[in-house]
């Protein structure tokens, strides 16, 4: 049993023991407080490695080609951003490159480093920094939006000339499926629980004047409401409270 404050309405609650594939939601505002995926380390690691390979393919092979009156043109993702830059839209080119290439690649790399590092807990403190960066880049990784954008562009151009989809587009389609699968199989709380705590050590800390909040804190649990359990137990026997197996 752990107590948490809902990050959307700040209500203090006690988390119930989650069954596998269960989810705890805030009893006041309904936001998701905790999830318990079946295999929170190995599964996202496998999916992430697959996504990394597909990402390399998606960024190196042509997305689509166009032929009209004996002339042929094709483009890659980064080629699109480069053409925007070339046409004087430098800022837009940077935004496109960031959302289409840098953020997805960054998120995957940070997450994979974290997942590899936490296989033997406790992972060193710098892993926490990596996890923070993964969480920061996540909202800017727009693979699925890009996929829809490519399809709309393809249909628009299809009226003017003959277009064909390339391998890159297929790869982005696969990535579009892999990203949500990774997101739903990662348990951020479980990852943080496996990272060593930031040690308030004035000798090695460059910011010696840092004041740390304290933990443990006053015991409030008897007074608190219980978070709602939105469990979808995979089998009947996992319905009994088994407790989180984390440390």
């Amino acid at each position: 049993m752990t107590s948490v404050a809902c990050h959307e309405c700040d209500l203090l609650q006690v988390l119930p023991d989650l069954p596998v594939a269960g989810k705890a939601t805030c009893c006041r505002c309904g936001c998701t407080l905790a999830t318990r995926p079946a295999d929170p380390i190995e599964r996202p690691l496998a999916l992430g490695l697959a996504a990394l390979l597909v990402l390399v393919v998606a960024n190196t092979t042509p997305l689509m080609g166009l032929s009209a009156v004996g002339r042929h043109a094709s483009t890659t993702i980064i080629g699109g951003a480069y053409q925007m830059w070339h046409e004087g839209q430098e800022v837009t080119a940077v935004i496109v490159a960031f959302c289409a290439v840098i953020a997805p690649a960054g998120y995957l790399l940070f997450l994979l480093i974290v997942l590899f590092a936490v296989r033997r807990p406790p992972a060193p403190g710098w892993v926490g920094g990596m996890l923070r960066w993964a969480e920061r880049t996540r909202p800017w990784a727009m693979t699925e939006v890009m996929m829809l954008g490519i399809m709309v562009a393809l249909i628009k151009i299809a009226d003017l000339a003959k277009v064909e989809a390339g391998i890159g587009m297929l790869a982005i389609g696969v990535l579009m499926l892999l990203f949500p699968a990774i997101l739903s199989s990662v348990d951020t709380e479980e990852l943080w629980a496996r990272v060593a705590w930031h040690e308030p050590d004035p000798a090695s800390d460059p910011v010696a004047e840092r004041v740390f909040a304290s933990n443990p804190m006053p015991d409030l649990e008897p007074d608190l409401q219980k978070a709602d359990l939105d469990g979808r137990p995979e089998s009947a026997n996992s319905e009994t409270p088994s407790g989180r197996s984390s440390s």
Binding site: A5, H7, E8, C9, D10, L11, L12, R28, C29, G30, L66, A68, R71, A73, S74, T75, A81, Y82, Q83, M84, E87, G88, Q89, V91, T92, A93, I95, V96, C99, G128, R132, E135, P139, M142, V145, L148, G149, I150, V152, A153, L154, I155, K156, I157, L160, A161, T188, E189, W192, V195, W197, H198, V211, F212, A213, S214, N215, M217, P218, L220
Partner: protein
């Protein structure tokens, strides 16, 4: 539903924005750093309302040139034709793919506008200390956060159209100034959604005291069915 709901801030606790750990701050004025992940702690996002207003206003200003200025210029055998975002929607509609026209219309015109209206509404109700419909307003915020990225659709469409249609001198497509403003609207509203602190929606209830409010009778004039 009897006593005032106990929030972390009322109990003198803070939850870390980065790792979610609940801890007791070093002092109310200077909460210090999270003992687990070392991030700086703050009870509410720093100057949330001012920052979000600034970003929403900036995005609203960019929204006008984003819709007036052309996003694409198509040159066919010497003559150039300019297209705005609405022009692109009309083109898709008349060329027979109305489902795509609808998707682009929703993602590029309605979603950015809806986000600006929704964020302004959330900011105004928080500033007025409204205690009505907090759950619905939190849901609205969640929707704004989730849907924001989809407005980037048109930027990707324009980028890949420009990148592919380069068949000089037969036909070529160049980006217009509208793309930059449109991308700015999307980026600014995404940042605005992340600077807004949804916990402010609920703070009014804790401040109002004991009743958790849906049936509060002191403020009948705030009934939301006026529109």
């Amino acid at each position: 539903m009897t006593a005032a709901p106990l929030t972390a801030i009322k109990a003198g606790l803070l939850s870390c924005e980065t790792c979610g750990l609940l801890s007791q701050p070093a002092s109310a004025a200077e909460p210090g750093y999270c003992p687990r992940c070392g991030s700086e702690l703050e009870s509410r996002r720093h100057r949330s309302i001012e920052r979000t207003w600034a970003l929403v206003i900036a995005a609203a200003i960019c929204y006008i040139p984003a819709n007036i200025l052309p996003v694409l210029g198509t040159t066919t055998l010497g003559s150039t034709e300019y297209d705005t975002i609405m022009g692109g929607v009309v083109f898709l509609f008349t060329s027979g793919s109305w489902p795509l026209a609808l998707i682009v219309l929703i993602a590029s015109v309605m979603v950015p506008l809806g986000k600006l209206v929704a964020l302004s509404y959330l900011l105004i109700t928080v500033q007025r200390g409204s205690i009505q419909g907090s759950r619905e307003r939190t849901r609205l915020y969640r929707m704004v956060e989730f849907i924001g990225r989809w407005s980037m659709l048109d930027v990707f469409v324009d980028t890949f159209t420009v990148a592919l249609v380069q068949l000089d001198p037969l036909m070529s497509v160049r980006p217009g100034a509208g793309v930059l403003f449109f991308a700015a609207v999307v980026v600014l509203t995404m940042i605005a959604a992340s600077t807004f602190d949804p916990r402010l929606i609920w703070d009014a209830i804790s401040d109002a005291g004991s009743e958790p409010a849906p049936l509060e009778e002191n403020s009948p004039q705030q009934e939301s069915n006026l529109g």
